[in-house]
Symmetry: C2
Subunit: 244 residues, 2 copies
Amino acid sequence: MTYVLYYWDGIQGRGEFVRLALEEAGADYVDAGRDTGKEGQGTQAMTAILQSPDLSILPFAPPFLKDNEFIISQVANILLYLGPKLGLVPEDEQLRFFAHGLQLTIADIVAEAHDTHHPIATDKYYEDQKPEAKARSANFLDNRVPKFLGYFERVIARNPSGAGHAVGKDLTYVDLSLFQLLEGLTYAFPRAMKNASKVYPHLHSLCDLVRERPNIARYLASERRLAFNESGIFRHYPELDQDA
Amino acid sequence: MTYVLYYWDGIQGRGEFVRLALEEAGADYVDAGRDTGKEGQGTQAMTAILQSPDLSILPFAPPFLKDNEFIISQVANILLYLGPKLGLVPEDEQLRFFAHGLQLTIADIVAEAHDTHHPIATDKYYEDQKPEAKARSANFLDNRVPKFLGYFERVIARNPSGAGHAVGKDLTYVDLSLFQLLEGLTYAFPRAMKNASKVYPHLHSLCDLVRERPNIARYLASERRLAFNESGIFRHYPELDQDA
């Protein structure tokens, strides 16, 4: 059974949180939003679904996943669906809801990271909202990043199973997403994130652990892993960065 | 079995999406964040949980729900948990994931509605970010509201079960949340929302249907339903509103 992921071509973006789970599990999947020239793939095929005049299980926006005729949208929802199937979440019901709550909190900081460069209007250029982006970035780095990352640090530190994971004793999709979050923040704000390994040691160790998983290491070295760039969510504009 | 909801006192806020589900179902619950003077309740009791030094299932922020020792945070996650227990979501698995995806999309526009008055910094006063709030509000009303509400309108219109609900043939927590979203937007932006009933007729009918549910009508008329105000998510600042 092949999973079909639909997401914008050319960026990691929100699709990357889903890709990391599929890659870690070695799942059979097609990244159908990418413009490979194959029939039924590419941006046009994706847009055709979003603009379909009669689809009733209608996604609002990419990413969305197709599993045969089953359609699921929103990153955290896709991971909620895939987690048990890919063995990336514990069996325990309380831990499953805890993992999902963490994933939703990751979604919150990801949205805020996006708004650092687009605080006024998503559909306007960064260049047209630069002073506001500077003000929002300063607040994000001074207040929001420490609040969110401090929380995730505490969650890992308090995990009763130890072992340096966020939830339970094994790797979950939350760990993979925390890795992606830290990678993104470090790409976007290298100066501000300079001391992150000292301030958030558990989170830092977790990211090392994820980076060294064989399937993840292979994926990161592959052509499938696009580089961060200034069309994605995490963008490196040096003028938005600041000292730690 | 009594559900215990923790949320800030004095506002509807994000807690209201959970309250509407509990009220519609006639569930036994305590609104424990409200300062009633009872032991184990009020802001202090809630903060004590958030700042507990050893809780491992740690919420990031209110609202969170306790069901005996079970703790769940994030509005959409709480509704995912409560939905089947309160009979507010269909049995069908695809429809459950669809409902949850819709709820996450509602969470997205709610976050954007918040940022109309706080586009730069959540922890600073509205008065200190007024020009930016005007710019963000204009973009929100011109582009984002039509995009989101147009989507929800299509979802209701295409529901194969008909009957004017968002998902399946009966009332779900998504319907309740769409009602709250429309109420909030109409409170915050009465001029911009003036023609909403014509532009989004299905959404408008759905809101009427929710408002007339006996348990919801009773709740809305009760003291438990706080009024919208300028400490909540949906705030009425006339200078941020504009003609439809």
